[in-house]
Amino acid sequence: MLSTLVFVPLIGAIITMFLPKEEDRIIKIFALLVSLIPIVLVGMMWLDFDMAAAGMQFVEKAEWIPSLGVTYHLGVDGISFPLLVISALITTMAIITSWNIDHRVKDFFAFVLLLETGLLGLFVALDYVLFYIFWEIVLVPMYFLIGIWGGPRRRYASIKFFIYTLLGSVVMLVGILALYFGSGLQTFDILTIAQQANLSPTFQWWLFLAFFLGFAVKVPVFPFHTWLPDAHVEAPTGGSMLLAGVLLKMGAYGFYRISYTTFPDAAQSFALFMGVLGVVNIIYGALAAMAQEDVKKMAAYSSISHMGFVLVGLAAMTPMSMNGGLYVLFSHGLISPLMFFFVGSVFYDRTHTRMMGELGGLYTKIPLAAGLLAFTAFANLGLPGLSGFIGEFFTFAGTWTELPNLVMIAVVGLVFTAAYHLRMMQKVLMGDAPAKYDGLPDISARELWVAIPLMLLIIWAGIYPNTLLSFFNPSVESILAVLGVM
């Protein structure tokens, strides 16, 4: 099941390359259909998923390079499953969003599907070699998406993205190799190493640091975040959606899957440090977002700010805080693509600008699109009743018993978060509209196909958290057992 899930998009990408290049429409429809298959598969897995189990499910294991102890090992648990949902869903949404692409159509959709394979593979890989391969596979298509279909400064942004994340992953590779040699188990199996390796605290400390740098760039953690605003601003909107919705989750996922289970002692000693960085992310990201004129850049800094919650939740190591962190991941995986979809596609396609100063009064011109953007903004600022609030609230509530001072500082960020969203709505939607925006068409049916499914999930995840928590909770409890705090 998992192999099919992971490689269907890859096969789709290869077939796409053989399609006649002038048949844009066929290519797009084909890519869309291919991207629906993982959604169906994930849905089928949901039905079979054992909610009570903490361990891996749908496991596939085979020898690969026996001499080195490399195995083809896939599996999914309550932490990775919701991320598969996000990956599959956002890929489809990104494809629908990219319907207007008219330049090298074939390459574009092939890259998107390749990216999906990388993302799905990463979240189910249980072998370090496999993990690393998928980690790097993700990098390549995204680099091309930005570099070929990006905005005016695409070269700068794509190179920055590439080098930055490559540097991070190289350090991680160092860590993987050190772990392989240091554990002495002759295996790259993530679970085996986590369970059996007896690593000294000092060794753990170094390895944690190496993996931390790899993950921190992807999260991104301050001060390794400056690739993100550039990448987002230049990326085509479909790419931005995948970048914000799924790629940013890779680093945080790494902390849950690898760092916390394999280096539990080091995790304890790094916890406060991570918490502090998380608070810095929250406040710094929010303040920087408030200073932006470009709506897409604002959304990018907003992502940085939201990822801070995950770090805070990890730092506190309580069931509620760790669940909260995962909830933020999931929720941000829905909200941020929606945000980029609106500012980068729905509004940009109509007004051809993303500068707040040039926009204004659009509620009177395109009321439905404007109302939906307002919905997204409120979801992003953590309005109760929508998914963002649940994650933030549980993160803070779970962190309070361990690190109350951090919570006290971090909540200030919520005021700034509200402020920059209100400012954006004021400048984009309210006031008088310039005459040049007369007669703009309101949101189209195709665009509603992107917005409505995401909105429904945001509402559902905001009303009834146990749907997701029943996935997270058993797995989080088992991580905490490894950490020795439960």
Binding site: F18, K21, R104, K106, D107, Y143, F144, I148, R155, S158, K160, I163, V170, L173, V174, L177, A178, G182, S200, T202, F203, W206, T226, W227, Y284, L287, A288, M290, A291, T318, P319, M320, G361, Y363, T364, L383, P384, G385, I390, F393, F394, A397, G398, W400, M408, V411, L414, V415, A418, A419, L422, Q426, M430, G431, D432, N466, L469, N473, E477, L480
Partner: protein
């Protein structure tokens, strides 16, 4: 009936959803959906109240979130306080819904207006039915959202947007405090359920400094929502919204949420004596502070806005001195008479197209219903016996008189004097004397019956609702609403005489200055010029916030933005340049790999594959290099750490 109580908030919620989803087909029939659903809610609320009076209650729960072994339940319960709030909220909101049919006629966003009104009411009713702090907080924030949307209803004018932003952000500051309080209480009790929390507090399992700090933080939320000093600044600006919205915000939703919070958690607050003292002093100070600003206000809605802040201060003061019944009682009577006053002012504004009282005068002749209902509302606000406000204010002053701090009683008395004065002034300036603006006066006309009927119904309650807690009914309200631990202070004729004395002297002074003009207004201003200037400037609190909080955060954000752009990213780019320089040296990395890749992707499969091969060669070089270093560093780590 009580088993259908959950429908009371759900019906307006449905109305909201129907208008949002099918508004384009409904067009202006949206109002019928809103009014109809709320009317059913109102009938249900009456039915529920009658059953609760006869002793029924209900509680329902389900597991909402699971963390480790902690299960968080969500649910609702209906008790006396909830039942009373249901009636007050649904009735006032229904009046506002009906009135808006006339007031908002022809508005370009008529549907949106009714959708927001419905959601607003639903959120407030949800807040009232919640049996736990977290659900209350969720509804609390939704109430804030709706007030934002409604204050900014006419968002073409950026002033209105700024007022909406101000309301949202100021209450958000309070909400942050409340959030901390919610989290602290939860950390101590492992539950959000009010009944369970109360139980834990009564058994001393939550106590001491923790309880005090947590309740103070919760109260910060109430300060924001109920516009208490120092977070009161949003409420006067909130009148930028359409007048029916102001009526709803000021009377039955939004601002009473804070008072309701303290009332709902009263037994928990009462266990923290320090918190109650803080509550009492904040309330008392706000009562007199806001009343003093209302003395010089020229905008008819401005007078009412500061009046609301002041009256909320009374309610908070009552709860702070332990007079629970009095606080809740005043919440109810105030809801009726303040909704009446706002809607009546809306009727006036509708007629003369100005809010400035200096341009009004003599309107009673032209607007009989509006004028007389306003006068009834004013009498209730001023506390003229036997209007409703008299009974509830008297209870509050009695509570303050019996508290540990006599000063609070005198503050209340002076605020009562101010109240009587400013409302007399407003009444005379608006409805009596000679018209000061002939043009406005010429155009003035009585509003249509869809607007005046709500005024009449509200006026009946503004007059009569106080009797439910009077000797005539043997203090029935108090007995119904009282908590088992609530104490009831014995009546005192001294308190009653003082209160009535303050009210009458306020009215008489107002009449002397504005009615008979025996005392010259100008000479008073001259005599008390610095005080007058201070009041006129509203103690310059907005100006202080503007300099400190708003400009401060903006400057900070600009600083961070620049820091990020020039310093953090500057370092990154510098490092990047260095890297490129080194890369050039070792193998023209940039050209061959990065640029080559970008420019080199070809459309055909053949060229594409060749390119990938090319890219891979580039990769492989750097990979080989990294691999080498990796192994090296890995070995070093093993040597050091292993």
């Amino acid at each position: 009936m009580v088993e259908y109580a959950w429908l009371i908030p759900v019906l307006p919620l449905f109305s909201f959803l129907i208008i949002v989803l099918f508004g384009r087909y409904l067009k202006n029939d949206s109002d019928k959906i809103g009014i109809g659903s709320l009317f059913i809610s109102f009938l249900l609320a009456i039915g529920v109240l009658l059953e609760v009076i006869n002793g029924s209650t209900i509680t329902k729960e389900f597991v909402w979130a699971t963390h480790g072994d902690i299960e968080i339940a969500f649910g609702y319960s209906v008790d006396a306080l909830t039942a009373m709030m249901f009636v007050v909220v649904t009735f006032v909101s229904l009046m506002v819904h009906v009135y808006s049919k006339g007031y908002m006629e022809g508005d370009s966003r008529y549907k949106r207006f009714y959708a927001c009104l419905s959601l607003f009411t639903a959120s407030m009713l949800g807040l009232v039915i919640a049996n736990n702090l977290l659900l209350l907080f969720i509804c609390w924030e939704l109430v804030g959202l709706c007030s934002y949307l409604l204050i900014g209803h006419w968002f073409e004018d950026i002033e209105n947007v700024l007022a909406a932003n101000k309301a949202f952000l100021t209450t958000r500051v309070g909400d942050i405090g409340m959030l901390i309080g919610v989290i602290m209480i939860f950390a101590m009790g492992k539950t959000f359920n009010f009944a369970e929390l109360t139980h834990l507090v009564e058994h001393g399992e939550i106590a001491g400094v923790g309880l005090t700090v947590a309740t103070i933080f919760l109260f910060v939320g109430a300060i924001g929502k109920s516009a208490q000093f120092p977070l009161h600044v949003w409420l006067p600006d909130a009148m930028a919204g359409p007048t029916p919205v102001s009526a709803l915000i000021h009377a039955a939703t939004m601002v009473v949420a804070g008072v309701y919070l303290v009332a709902r958690m009263f037994l928990i607050f009462a266990a923290a004596k320090t918190t109650l003292t803080v509550v009492a002093f904040i309330g008392g100070f706000t009562a007199i502070f806001a009343a003093s600003i209302a003395l010089v206000e020229e905008d008819i809605k401005g007078v009412l806005a500061y009046s609301t802040i002041s009256q909320l201060g009374y309610m908070v003061l009552a709860l702070g001195v332990g007079a629970y019944t009095a606080g809740v009682f005043h919440l109810m009577t105030h809801a009726f008479f303040k909704a009446l006053l706002f809607l009546a002012s809306g009727s006036v504004i509708h007629a003369v197209h100005t809010q400035n009282m200096h341009k009004m005068g003599g309107l009673l002749k032209k607007m009989k219903v509006t004028g007389w209902t306003w006068i009834i509302g004013s009498a209730a606000l001023a506390g003229v016996p036997p209007f409703s406000g008299f009974w509830s204010k008297d209870e509050i002053l009695l509570g303050a008189y019996h508290s540990d701090y006599k000063i609070l009683f005198w503050i209340g008395v002076i605020a009562a004097f101010f109240t009587a004065f400013y409302i007399t002034r407003a009444t005379i300036m608006t409805f009596f004397g000679e018209p000061r603006d002939d043009h406005a006066y010429e155009h003035a006309h009585e509003s249509p019956s869809v607007m005046t009927i709500p005024l009449i119904l509200l006026a009946i309650l503004a007059f009569g609702s106080g009797f439910v807690n009077s000797p005539l009914t043997d203090m029935a309200f108090g007995k119904f609403i009282a908590l088992e631990h609530g104490h009831h202070a014995s009546p005192s004729s001294f308190v009653q005489m003082t209160a009535v004395g303050a009210t009458l002297s306020g009215i008489i002074l107002g009449w002397l200055i504005y009615g008979l003009r025996i005392i010259s207004r100008k000479s008073i201003i001259k005599f008390l010029y610095p005080v007058w200037r201070l009041l006129k400037g509203k103690y310059f609190i907005d100006e202080i916030y503007n300099v400190v909080a708003i400009r401060g955060s903006l400057a900070l954000s600009k600083l961070i933005g620049a820091f990020d752009k020039y310093v953090v990213d500057g370092i990154v780019n510098l490092t990047g340049r260095l890297g490129v320089f080194i890369g050039d040296l070792i193998g023209d990395f940039d050209n061959k790999v990065v640029d080559g890749a970008v420019n080199g992707v070809r459309n055909t499969f053949y060229v594409g594959s060749r390119l990938i091969r090319n890219a891979h060669t580039g990769y492989l070089q750097s990979y080989a290099l990294t691999l080498f270093f990796s192994v090296l560093i890995g070995l070093i780590i093993i040597v050091i750490g292993g």
